[in-house]
Symmetry: C2
Subunit: 132 residues, 2 copies
Amino acid sequence: MRIGELAARAGTTTRTLRYYESRGLLTARRGGNGYRTYDEDDLKLLRQIRTLQDFGFDLEETRPFVECLRAGHPEGDSCPASLVVYRRKLGELDTLIEQLTSVRAQVAAQLTRAEAAAPGGPEPKCELGGHG
Amino acid sequence: MRIGELAARAGTTTRTLRYYESRGLLTARRGGNGYRTYDEDDLKLLRQIRTLQDFGFDLEETRPFVECLRAGHPEGDSCPASLVVYRRKLGELDTLIEQLTSVRAQVAAQLTRAEAAAPGGPEPKCELGGHG
DNA sequence: TCTTGCCTTGACGTCGGCGTCAAGGCTTAC
DNA sequence: GTAAGCCTTGACGCCGACGTCAAGGCAAGA
């Protein structure tokens, strides 16, 4: 198949595929007219990249998975190098979630304080008795 | 005080202060020699910006806080517009944390699956009996 | 043959928050 | 006077993952 069809089947754009190629991921054969030609394996490889990208992996972080598939392994994460990336990512995610949770708490505290200090009353969430 | 001192006292750089000025935050008076001159109020304003930046707020999102302080309010979040930003940010943080938590779980699942499928054994976390 | 729609390479644009360099002016210490 | 250390404006660089435009080639249908 050609680049347009591959892009469509992977839910991305031709520009993206050429970019991946420029980065050394996703190589392509060429037809007699110079057009790029791909097969089902390329689709599988591309879907591996896209899945990881959706997870927030950098393009470089997908490289071990790509090389693993190219080496003939059944899955992109069938190789130790891929597992290393998984574990590192888990650590990064934990750290990030922790930081964001902390920030969330601080912002919430600021909001509560600011609302309490606001003129016109602190916008009560529940009205204890009274309904007017 | 001049720009270098203000930057130092706020733990940032002169380049950053000029950038804030170019964005319309943090205005400055000028001395006879053309140098920017700041006072303690400017420092307070700058610290407000920096705090929000550390929380992950975009520069644009700090504008209501800045305008609130400029209007003479005691705190940057003494104005309704600032509270709106707080609430929106809380929502964004909740969404983001939720997404990251979901991704974390998916990555963890992939790692577990890949480890189980790996040749050479699934790297057991604990050894039940046997120690050699 | 002409249009339409794919494809090619090349190259500049985007976004945010600055970093960094250039070229020069003011002030103070020595 | 001159070197050091502050300041000024202007402008290009950076990062990542592409978007978008330009100029042109190839293929297929009417």
